[in-house]
Amino acid sequence: MSALTCLRNPANAFTALVLLVFATGPVVMPLIGEPFYVIVFARIMVWAIAAVSLNLIMGYGGLISFGHAVYLGLGGYAVGILAFHGVTSGWAQLAVAIGASAAVALVFGAISLRTRGVYFIMITLALAQMIYFLAVSAEQYGSDDGLNILSRSDFGLAFYDLNDQATLYYTVFAVLLASVGVSARLVGSRFGAVLRAAKSNDTRVQAVGVATYRYRLTAFVIAGVMCGIAGFLQANLESFVSPDMMSWPRAGELIFMVVLGGMSTLFGPVTGAFVFLMVSDTLAEWTIHWHIIFGPLLVLVVLFARGGIAGLLNRKSANG
């Protein structure tokens, strides 16, 4: 299928549009007098990366993790805590972010994946809450007030300085594309096939002799690391990290973004994050009572647009 034919599909066209908006943001937005939106887009992209990572285990793996926001926090505090102690090396911070996310995901996954259904949801929530309370109790690192990060990660490369807004922005964009790419590779591989089959019918896959637990755990760790990297980027973007970034409402919002865009589609989490955050931002500007519109909106999406935006748009095209 040629690219053009691909774009005839409304879902794909919308995805392409969102990506175009992201790609051209730093150039176009200042031109139309809205430079503030460059920051907004960068923020959305970070959430999109987190959503892509969640989609890996939730959309394709069927594992509804209510504690995924914790990895954003781990990545963020890796930057924050190290910077607090004077370690501003981006390499060190990134290594810690990845290491911590992988370790925590391994432990949490090992515990949670022994359960099913709503127990799984609850235990992922509970484990994330533990990290949340740990951060809240860390008085030295600001506890509930959060931690200001005074300088961005320094990679020690002359041509690559995250203090330059454009560099940071396009780094986030590149990581977003890379995360979707990794997702695509994984899902299309034998690994992904096992994951998706296990989502469908775990018993049958095990009956064929495949140890689904190990596949799921691996996916869990990969998703955790990807989200940790998003957290690393978020800390640089916001120059700030706080426990609130890994609270359970954030995790709920992440789930929503994935569902909104269209679960188990490659770009669903990206468009989902975009629409979710743009709509909530816009509504919030209209009225301080925006929750009373947003809440029912979410309910309606769940009830009538189960396939998310991708589903809606695809349905439209199917109906001609």
């Binding site: 709503v118 609850m122 309370f133 569902v259 009373i292 947003f294 979410l298 769940v302 009830l303």
Partner: protein, 308 residues
């Protein structure tokens, strides 16, 4: 550390456990019978506090407010069930989580629009305020004793309801095998409405009786909700007995942790760290407990027999 402090903190923990039990009982009933994950259960807690509190202020009597709250919450609960939640029974848990998450936003904002952002202060009648000597040289707030008594009475009532009445039998049948019960002629939709109504009353009661202590405010149900979910997971989903035991254990651990953990920590850490780590770490204790229990018993302590 004298016995007075120990016993008082134990009672405080027990009282917290009672509140958690009221929340968890409704939650476990709804989840056990209707297989519905309802995040908005915390909103029912809040609505009970505001509606009941308003009734108390209007009638000038807190007791009257509690009594009137019961039919009010029954009506409100059934109304919510029939309009917003019916469509969710057929959906999977993810849909239920997301839809009820959206409902939380709606209820919080609606409450703010109706009652304003300040919340509600509900006074107690004079005879319930103040403390009383309960022996062993301990004086304890009268009202907290009342809460414990009410909670135990409700627990007893639920036990009788579920174990000894016709409706209870229908509830247990529905929990065991919904399709079969329906095939045998039980009006499932009506049963579900009633169960949800009961859950709403329990949540509303919890919210209302804690209000004279902590004041009613927007979003007050959210922290309790998470704890209530932990409780029912530990106790076993669908089991009221499990909910009771898990709730009391959770309440006691949380309160005793907050009181004594910093003393314990002082043995290992400098004073500053021990002081602030104590309360936060004790909140972690509950989750550690839950993780440990689920590790050995993935279905909780008392999963109902024959549950699907």
């Amino acid at each position: 550390m004298d016995h007075v402090l120990l016993i008082e903190q134990f009672l405080n923990g027990f009282q917290l456990g009672i509140i958690l039990f009221l929340m968890a009982a409704g939650l476990t009933l709804v989840f056990g019978i209707m297989d519905l994950v309802n995040l908005a259960h915390g909103s029912l807690f809040m609505i009970g506090a505001f509606v009941g509190g308003t009734l108390a202020l209007l009638t000038g009597s807190f007791i009257l407010g509690v009594i009137l709250m019961i039919p009010a919450m029954l009506v409100i609960g059934i109304a919510i069930e029939m309009t917003a939640l019916r469509t969710l029974y057929a959906r999977d848990h993810l849909d239920q989580v997301l839809a009820t998450f959206g409902l939380i936003l709606f209820f919080n904002e609606a409450t703010r629009l109706i009652w304003g952002p300040e919340g509600l202060v509900v006074p107690l009648p004079a005879f319930l305020d103040g403390s009383v000597e309960i022996g062993l040289g301990i004086t304890y707030p009268v009202y907290r004793i009342v809460i414990i008594a009410v909670g135990l009475a409700v627990a007893l009532g639920l036990y009788i309801l579920v174990g000894r009445t016709r409706i209870g039998m229908l509830i247990r049948a529905g929990a065991s095998n919904r399709t079969m019960a329906g095939a045998l002629g039980v009006n499932i939709p009506k049963l579900f409405s009633i169960v949800f109504g009961i859950g709403a009353v329990l949540a509303g009661l919890a919210g209302l009786i804690i209000t004279p202590i902590t004041q009613a405010q927007i979003g007050m149900g959210e922290d309790v909700l998470i704890l209530a979910f932990v409780v029912i997971v530990i106790g076993g989903i669908g089991s009221i007995r499990g909910a009771f035991i898990a709730a009391i254990v959770t309440g006691v651990i949380d309160t005793m942790g907050r009181s004594f953990l910093d003393v314990l920590l002082l043995l290992f850490l400098p004073a500053n760290a021990a002081e602030s780590a104590g309360p936060a770490l004790s909140s972690m204790l509950i989750y550690i407990l839950m993780a440990a229990i689920l590790f050995f018993k993935p279905q909780g302590l008392f999963p109902p027999k024959g549950a699907q």
